[in-house]
Amino acid sequence: MEQVLCDLITALRGSGVRISPAETVEALEAAALVGLEERGILCDALSVVLAKSRTEKEIFKDCFDRFFSPDGFIASGERPPLPTDPAPRAADSPLSRMLLSGDPAGLSMAMREAADQAEISGIYFFTQKSLYIQRILRGMGVEGLDRDILRLTREDPDASQQKAGALRAGKAFLFEQVRDFVEQQYVLYAASAREAIMERYLRDMKLSNLEQRDYERMHRIIQRMAKALNDAHSRRKREARRGVLDVKNTLRENLAFQGLIFAPRWKSKKVNRPDMMVMCDISRSVEAVSRFMLLFLYSLNEEMARIRSFVFCSDMVEVSHIFEAYGVEEALMRLQKGTGLGVGLGRTDYGQAFRDFKETCLERIGRRTSVLILGDARNNYGAPETDILSLIHQRARRVIWLNPESPPFWGTGDSEMKRYLPFCTLARECRSVNQLERAVGYLVRDG
């Protein structure tokens, strides 16, 4: 019982359901309470204890069904083709005997035991399938079966030949069942592991190298990241520090009670929600990366209340309203194509972009505003307008520049990064999700 539940939990964990040891113990208790007689009730009970959100419940249901699904020996009622003279003899190996006498329960048991021995729950890659099939077959004693077949073919009488034929058919049947079983287990245990490996791999990959098929996955990773950022931020920052008396306020409030301190007032600390302005370069040179920058920006917009987003190529426009009005796909497409923005997507001009920014919202930058710039600072040899950035730097709480190029390339060719550097509180290379996450971590820490 314990072993079975633990295997189920391994499978669940693999599929992304987080289960603590305490919950494992509880699952055992719950199973003991409701008993194993009724599958539906057991499923309900375990689902209540183990799966703690709606998606987890769906995963659980799926896993539960797959885990407790009968294998081929029992399910289909299929039987190994029986020989005309099914007389198992003492000389036959146990496996041959089971095949000959048609014992599905015995075969199923033997297979599961062999699978446990082979530690099937450790299966990760599809290339391991044949290995496990071999291991299980060997565990069930397929060598004895082979010996029997060899012996019987060497013997002369017809009956022996027939029996050998039956055993050969039985072996084929056996192989098929074991293969199906391994297939099932692979789906059960490995699906999730694959997901985890894929994610780890994607996180370190250069954003510009991503392919279309990975976008979906990337979306999810980035959304999760933006959510984490927001969770840390939007927590109510007003913590009443009980126990610290606010003398000034108390005296003032209690004047009405003839100076008797009747209703004490306590000090509280107020931390502000973040105030952010983000500028994102969407020109050709950063096209591959900008999609993810925009995606990140979109997720931030969804999560944060006070954020204003701008995109620029040569002119800068505010796009917060586009993020609000459209779904993620639509919004990103509009931004990348420049539909309805009213700006031409011409040559990148950071100078012009900064001038536009100065005109429209330099005043809005206060000492609590973080300014985030996403771009490669490649200015086509135009005027860099560093004094505007310097102005922004003076007014804002901080200026963070995330550059998709790595530092050795900064300042080469038409890159003005070196000139902008003095006016950035922080400038980071940012071309994989992991680097983006680190930058976000910095944002949160000092939020």
């Binding site: 305490a22 309470l33 409701v34 204890v49 799966a51 703690k52 109510r236 009443a240 009747f262």
Partner: protein
Amino acid sequence: MGLDLDRKFQGIEDVRKGFEDVGYVCSRRIATTLYLAHHLQKPILVEGPAGVGKTELAKAAAAVAEMPLIRLQCYEGLDESKALYEWKYGKQLLYTQILKDKLADLLEGTDGLAEAVARVHQYDDIFFSEHFLAPRPLLLALQEKEGAVLLVDEVDRSDQEFEAFLLEVLSDFQVSVPELGTIHAVSRPYVFLTSNNTREMSEALKRRCLHLYIPFPDAGLEREIVRVRAPGVPERLRAQLVAFVQQLRELDLKKVPSVSETLDWARVLLILNARDLGADLIRDTLNILLKFEVDIEMVEGRLYEMAGKAVR
């Protein structure tokens, strides 16, 4: 009392019956959860769309267990002084005024300041004793001698700080009052937390609870609910109205009708003395089920088709 309760929670079927007796029809999953919660002594975190009877479940549990229901409604900014306890500052100050005169008697015969302070120290803790403690819902639930049903309603509206603070109460059924020490539950309350999923609850909180998701009921269960909660609605009409509501839930509406709205509608139809569901009747009473103008317009467009299906 305790024996009685154990009898009611003897098996999953008993739980289901017990709840039906007080007018709450539960599915097998809900019954299983209640059964487990009783035996494992764990809080239940109930999630689901609005109006499927999450709060009602706690009320029914209180009725079944014959215990008082203590309710804590969560909102943004709720803190421990409103949820757990507060000192009665006014009373404390009043007492200091009254006892001012007493102070002279008390300090009589003391020699010097140090001795006076030492004497006062013998009495110092009286102002932070239980006499001056105003218990709030959480503390009340722990203090209830015969046990209680504690309902922490819409816990997703509270802040994360409050959620963290709930952990101690939920895992050990105890709270710490710095001035008094730790207060343990006299007898363990049944705890229900409800959430509308406006935000994800923390892992730590979820780990300490059984998690129950209540979806909208299927047609069979909903008919049963209408039968129990709105008795008097003829069987034919009951089947028809439930079929209609179930159809509504399939549509892409701004707000789909909840179980409580189904019940309201059933009662309205009862008052109108309706025998059969017709398109006109539905049009006149649609505003009970749907609360947005766009939804009503959308449904009115295909009313005949839907009513026809429901009647069949």
